[in-house]
């Protein structure tokens, strides 16, 4: 309890005694399931289920007992102040953190009932199923066409006309086909920032991922490009489950169906977006949403 009080004591907002501890004993690693978070009234079955996720940079623990259920074909937003572990949490789903020595995840992330953190999981196949979009558009140093064809060439051996068809479909699904149809061979870097980001979405969608992770996908994009990407996210739900990290609360409200509020590596609150926004059950969430800190 004293540890909790210490960490909450840094806030300007809530009285520590009124904050219901999520995990009264943080040193206790016994799995607590989704207790402590509000289990949302889930219509669709969960696509991913995170249980007891801890994360370490070397010896420093940055995620503590994260529990979440990501509903299928919905947009789940992760919000919270800088450094609260949003991006780290997201980077566990496709095990991309393993690129860096010394980073370690403990716990369970079930994707369609299979724990992706378990040893023996084929990470190549996992990353084919779980796409990722970054803050800065990460167009590859090649043409527009080759960018979208990149994953298809890795994972599917298609004839030239089939490849072309798939690329056209993918570009169409992000509303980019009409803008780039005449410059498919131009370097991807010659597109505008917003176009590049949509190109990255098209590249991810081309290999038909089941889960799409987006790490602040509009933070480097101009307002018009941002609104196009938000529209795109709303339309994506039909084909893919989306988890989006954002520091923009309005964006979270506009695009997400469910929302998780993270603070200091913990999931403070999780539920349907409207409920979290209008009737948060935690004072911490309320304080964050009302701009009292963050």
């Amino acid at each position: 309890m004293s540890l909790m009080r210490q960490s909450f004591g840094r806030l300007r907002g809530p009285d520590p005694d009124r904050v219901r501890p999520l995990n009264p004993n943080p040193d206790d690693h016994v799995c607590r399931g989704i207790q402590g978070t509000v289990r949302p009234d889930l219509g669709p079955p969960p696509k991913a289920r995170v249980r007891c996720l801890d994360f370490f940079y070397g010896n420093r623990q940055v995620l503590f007992d994260n529990n979440l259920e990501v509903p299928s074909n919905r947009v789940t937003a992760i919000i919270g102040p800088s450094g609260c572990g949003k991006s780290t949490h997201l980077r566990a789903y496709n095990r991309i953190f393993e690129l860096y020595p010394g980073r370690r995840a403990r716990g369970e992330i079930m994707l369609d009932g299979v724990d992706v953190l378990a040893p023996g999981v084929d990470v190549i196949d996992l990353r084919r199923r779980v796409g990722m979009i970054f803050q800065q558009p990460t167009t590859f140093p090649m043409s527009v066409f080759d960018n979208v064809a990149f994953g298809l060439r890795l994972h599917a051996s298609l004839r030239a006309d089939a490849l072309r068809f798939e690329v056209e479909q993918a570009l169409g699904s992000v509303g980019l086909w009409d803008e780039v149809r005449d410059r498919l061979n131009a370097p991807a870097a010659s597109l505008s920032g917003g176009q590049q980001q949509r190109l990255c979405v098209a590249r991810a969608l081309a290999i038909r991922p089941e889960l799409l992770l987006m790490d602040e996908p509009t933070s480097a994009i101009d307002p018009i490009g941002t609104s196009r990407i938000e529209d795109l996210i709303l339309g994506l739900k039909r084909r893919v489950t989306v988890v989006i990290v954002t520091h923009n609360l309005q964006q979270a409200a506009r695009v997400s169906d469910f929302m998780a509020f993270f603070y200091e590596g913990r999931v403070v609150e999780f539920g349907p977006t409207s409920q979290v926004f209008h009737r948060p059950s935690e004072h911490l969430t309320e304080d964050y949403l009302s701009g009292r800190f963050g």
């Binding site: 084919r128 779980v130 970054f134 590859f140 140093p141 090649m142 994953g151 994972h155 370097p187």
Partner: protein, 317 residues
């Protein structure tokens, strides 16, 4: 304040005093570079004028090099310079690339720092040490068993014939490779580290293997830097003198095989300047020097031209 009083009655402060001196000083310092360049070329050209007059353009084509008869030609040395550098590049390019990729993609964090220090230490060893090691350790090893084995098994390829004496083109090429390897590896490693983390994560995030990320993304993204590393390595190999002089055998001849003794421009210069008593002999050596300078400049210019053409194709990336 002092200036204001001093010049109070005598009109505006002169441009040179107000700050013009600074532009003059920087401009004067900067102009030194092209001046030195021009002075070098002119000096070499003047000194080699007698040889140019005596042999004409045939100097480049003739492999005849005989101080006793005052007949000189650059072909053997030029060939040796290009061939030994080519061997070195052939061995180094893939190796340096593999080591750099290992260090950036695969090596556990505890291994990276020691390997980096080892590479940097190797790069700073004086070339004479490589030469001595080549002469006393590598050459005997090549003479027996490496070259006899190569001749017995691959002797049908003309490259692996000739006298297996351990001193010659092959040894020079290997020594050169060892010398430029750490240098190229350390530049390549720095170049690969410049690939933005998001781009790397994104490439892996598509379900690529390390090979696919390296070959399809890093290689393209860092193309200019990678090529720059190769050109710098080649430039060093072309001009390297001491180590090569030790192990190449200093023979003014062109041989199709790799075992025979040969020479390079730098090795010829290092060996023969002290003996060059005749004017024409000395002048021929100067002309060799001029050729070496021009070849090295050509390599760098060609490299830069090639770089610009890739940059244009990639547009602002």
């Amino acid at each position: 304040m002092r200036n204001a009083t001093a010049h109070a009655g005598s009109g505006p402060v002169p441009w040179l005093v107000r700050g013009g001196w600074f532009s003059v000083a920087t401009g004067g310092a900067a102009i030194l570079i092209p001046l030195v360049m021009v002075a070098l070329v002119i000096g070499l050209a003047l000194a080699s004028w007698p040889a140019m007059k005596a042999f004409g353009p045939g100097f480049l084509a003739s492999s005849h090099w005989n101080p006793a008869t005052d007949r000189f030609g650059a072909a053997a040395s030029l060939y040796g310079t290009l061939a030994s550098s080519a061997i070195a590049m052939f061995l180094t390019v893939p190796l340096a690339f593999f080591i750099a990729v290992f260090l950036t993609e695969f090596a556990p964090s505890w291994l990276r720092a020691p390997v980096r220090y080892a590479i940097e230490t190797l790069a700073s060893i004086p070339s004479i040490i490589y030469g001595m090691w080549g002469l006393f350790v590598l050459a005997p090893m090549l003479a027996d068993p490496v070259q006899p084995w190569l001749r017995d098994h691959f002797g049908f390829i003309p490259l692996f014939s000739g006298p297996p004496i351990g001193i010659g083109m092959m040894t020079a090429g290997i020594i050169l490779a060892l010398m430029i390897l750490p240098y190229m590896t350390s530049i390549l490693r720095d170049v690969l580290y410049l690939v933005p983390p998001d781009l790397r994560e994104s490439a892996y995030g598509m379900g690529s293997t390390s090979w696919e990320v390296t070959w399809r993304i890093h290689r393209r993204y860092a193309a200019s830097g990678i090529f720059g590393a190769f050109v710098l390595g080649l430039g060093r190999a072309i001009g390297e003198t001491m180590a090569v002089t030790f192990v190449i055998g200093n023979n003014q001849g062109i041989h199709a095989d790799l075992f025979s003794p040969a020479t390079t421009i730098a090795a010829t210069l290092a060996n023969e300047f002290t003996e060059a008593s005749e004017d024409l002999y000395l002048s021929s050596l100067f002309e060799l020097g001029l050729i070496l300078l021009l070849v090295d400049m050509l390599v760098v210019l060609a490299g830069q031209w090639w770089l610009r053409s890739i940059e244009k194709r990639r547009v602002g990336a």
